[in-house]
Subunit: 426 residues, 3 copies
């Protein structure tokens, strides 16, 4: 998987993505090789809650030339050089005037910052602070050959793997970041590969939904269509982003906390990771703030390696291929698959012989030579599942409480179900 | 304020206060220069719950003369020399007999203890243990020219600052301690000055009530009149006492715990103090034990510097002017004003656009150049207020949860209210 | 008591106990000298829930002879040598065949393990691993002169001390362990002596029930008869086992947690022990797993010194007289008596003068010379009982919350009840 991840990364990296535009279409088309995406186009001007889908933005060319006619900043070199959603512009001006349109980070003087101006008409260029400092006085020529088309549209991708019920597990990722690696090519790549793994499964308890959207405006639009449906059907949901590095995981809980979403992620981390961080929900960050807005309050959390806004490279040209590792990205995909394993095997059972412990020996579930010195894990798992299956505790709770490995509890519960000692509580 | 505090302290210090008597009237009269007090006289013999207002006690003169006729213990020197509520007495007796009426503290041999015998007829003198030890054998003359008048009364002072509603914030302090500084001239002084600061405010959301009572019998009487009213109207209440030293604050919670009273005080401490102690309610201590008796269970807590009964100088002649500091007392007044700021600005809001985050940019509440690197506090505060304003969380809760400064949240909420994004939940 | 404990221990030690058989009858008969036991015989073949009372097992003789005719393993030497519930057998066989019926512990090569095969017909001998290793090749003669009688019965003992009400406190112990000291001669001995102490009390608030059963099958049978009754009547119950050593106590909570059973045991430990462990319920262990099975979920916990399955000597011949101490056993009995003291004195009261603090002075409950410096424990206890007696807090809660000694609170509550300031809430 690692080689495939890298190869897709390399193809997607140079494309200029934003909240609208051909770069997003091209991105979704490439991802369609991995995941069966249905792409929708939402027309510019469409209203959704408090928002309006903006004009579609496409850029042909954008540069700054110095007085010698030499291109010194070129969108071709790095998508980040152009302020996102810059309006078309052509003109000559002295440095003093140009400077108002130049953005840099004095405290990280070697990198290009990632900036946008989606909802305020403006134009600008982003560049390393050192380069900005070295610009000679004199006149500059600026060209931004871009278009903001009110007849355009916003592209979103969606794929669904039907399960035995219409209760859903959601993976939502965003595609609006140009030439940024951890945040956020890692997210769309991971989402597509999670899909490809789940597609191989023949039986699916839940329906899985995968959505590829521009951040904020995309999820707000999507919620305007599916928000009420999710309130009824969503079992668990995750914002898939920031998964490309090998540092310890951060899991950010859903706003409600203690949802199935959270409990599954926490159990996975407890079982598989030594160091990790579990954070309460906060309404800053990515699309979880919309999914978890008070009107929806959906069970949506997020697992991350280097969490957005916590690392220096974040939203700069330093968040690039060399910052991430494809081994780490593959591991993150597997961590999400483990969460899915936990979710799909999680049931609340009811013990059908709840008066005293049932006789396990006659069902060949118990070692025939008895002694409590026998601490056989499976046997202990049987006892925990039987005792706590009173119709109120699910397997995740029993795993947290007992400290017994979840897969052993799943096996125990399955055997007890087959033996007629348990029934599933809906 | 510091000079005024000291000047009032100096005038109030020598007055002999008790649970009744002219000293209390004089004290209330002096405090009336700062606070618009209405003084009520409750007749001796008045019943209130399990108690009866006692006879009024006034002392003209009280001393012990030795066999040479020299006054060796004199009430004029220190009010504490006379056992509170001593009955009138004049007589000659040998040391062996006198000693039954002399009180001292062997473990603090240099100080006069503060003792009373309100409900058991007795007389006595308090003196340093070293002095007691040095008394020569022989005869002594004792005079207590005092009166216990069954036609007297108990004086209580009350001031009210009307607010927009009759929902109340209560400050209750006690005036029965003679010549004791931290506990308890600091309390009446602080209460009077809090009043004088609040009086300057033109609009008051809540009605403020300030009461000056003798401890226990005073608050029990007051509750017999206002207890049921408080059950309905009291938003928050504080026993104002022990505020004169510069050691770390102790906040003692109301019996219910987690009342608005408690949450406001805790937030103030969290924001302004580094070291402090938060204690659960206990039914020992001062008037909070009556306000929080199970029949009333009012939201009454107490903020203190050196909490009663925890410091060596407590209830002795060493709790005097040199033990306290007027800078510390001023600071304590300001800490209470901060609690009032928190209370009066605390609202529970409802987000009127709860589906996804509203678009802050078009309301000029969002920086136009977007990047999550922008960690502008106000912007983050807006997001927290919007997300958690679902009609169940007040600003104090949002402050505790977010770690954002309360005043920033107040500003954010105010702007969002003006923008029509919030409404107040009653 | 220590000498009596030792003398009964010595008499009970050699008897072969199991889940049925004459050894159990003999054990109950000896214990009847201390406790007024009613012995019931439950016929083999009786059904109880998922289980059936097994055939009665009795052993006359059991040994292994080597090829020289010398007895090398003899049931007469130690009951543990014979696999519990071994079927009758006589035969000659080579070591290679015999070995399938020999059990030892390679990691504890000097001790005989305790093993049984109650529900799977088998025979075998248990011996130290070192002895097993040293067995010469050649033929062996094996004799197990035992009987498994389908017309037999299972013996259980029961004693009841009637109280003023039929609400019950249960002590359940098990008698199926042959020649094992901490687990489990300590349990039946402690139970019998607890009875003998309680019998001396003239008035008993609660009814006490003491049951002596074989583990698992015994308690399951007993629950099939009394389970529903216990659901209605059981105030608190304890599995009395593993009480013979002087290591720190472990208290294992009932499944519900925070039951009166648990709170009384925890308070006893808090007041009397410095180091102890409080464990959440787990469905492994002894009879608590049946009493706390989800169908009953009774308030049954367990106080232990060396908890089963946590010490090396557990279920081996090393859990013998030299492993335990009769001083420790006596102390454990006293610890249980303390729990009973807590239970029987625990009431929820209602303060009949809940408005402000009542005047304690006029009831002579208050020192006449007043000062808060007076920290007299009894006086403070009165205040706590009065304030928290609002009909929802029992004395155990007040003890936990106040940190005041339980017996002082009991005294305070008694005086307040006598003074007419409290009433008992049923």
């Amino acid at each position: 998987m690692i080689r495939k991840l890298e190869s897709y990364f390399d193809r997607l990296w140079p494309i200029n993505r934003s909240i609208t535009g051909n770069g997003n279409r091209q991105t979704l088309k490439i991802l369609s090789e991995i995941i069966d995406l249905k792409v929708d186009e939402i027309l510019s001007g469409t209203k959704c809650f408090d928002w309006v889908i903006p004009d579609e933005w496409n850029v042909k060319e954008a540069w700054i030339k110095n007085s010698s006619g030499k291109i010194i900043v070129d969108f071709k070199d790095n998508n980040l050089h152009l302020l996102g959603y810059s309006v078309p512009f052509h003109g000559f001006m002295p440095l003093s005037k140009l400077e108002k349109h130049l953005f840099s980070m004095p405290d990280q003087p070697d990198v290009i910052p990632y900036l946008t101006s989606y909802y305020d008409k403006n134009w600008g260029f982003c560049l390393p602070h050192n380069q900005l400092q070295s610009l000679a006085k004199g006149h500059y020529e600026v060209l931004i050959d871009a278009e903001l088309n009110p007849k355009g549209s916003m592209s979103i991708g969606e794929a669904i793997l039907k399960g035995e019920t219409d209760r859903e597990i959601l993976f939502s990722t965003y595609i609006c970041h140009p030439s940024l690696a951890n945040n956020e090519l890692s997210g769309p790549l991971a989402t597509a590969f999670i899909y490809s793994m789940l597609k191989k499964q023949k039986k699916r308890r839940y329906t899985y939904r995968f959505v590829f959207l521009p951040e904020s405006i995309g999820s707000i639009y999507y919620l305007s269509v599916y928000g009420d449906y999710f309130k009824e059907k969503l079992v668990a949901g995750y914002i898939v982003n920031c998964l490309g590095t090998s540092r310890k995981y951060t899991y950010k809980k859903s706003r409600r906390g203690n949802t199935l979403t959270d409990r599954a992620a926490e159990l996975m981390l407890k079982e598989l990771e030594e160091n990790y961080l579990i954070e309460d929900f906060s309404p800053t960050g990515s699309d979880e703030k919309h999914y978890c807005s008070p009107g929806f309050n959906l069970p949506v959390g997020s697992l991350m390696t280097d969490k957005y806004a916590t690392y220096e490279e974040y939203h700069t040209s330093a968040d690039n291929k060399s910052f991430i590792s494809f081994e780490a990205l593959e591991k993150s995909i597997n961590r999400y698959l483990e969460i899915i394993y936990i979710l799909k095997n999680n049931y609340t059972y009811r013990n059908l012989m709840p008066y005293g412990e049932p006789q396990l020996g006659k069902r060949h579930l118990f070692p025939s030579i008895g002694s409590q010195k026998n601490k056989d894990g499976f046997f202990v798992a049987l006892k925990w599942v039987l005792n706590y299956s009173d119709g109120t505790n699910d397997l995740i709770q029993i795993a947290h409480r007992s400290g017994i490995s979840y897969s052993l509890l799943v096996n125990a519960a399955t055997q007890l179900l087959v033996s007629g000692l348990l029934e599933i509580v809906e």
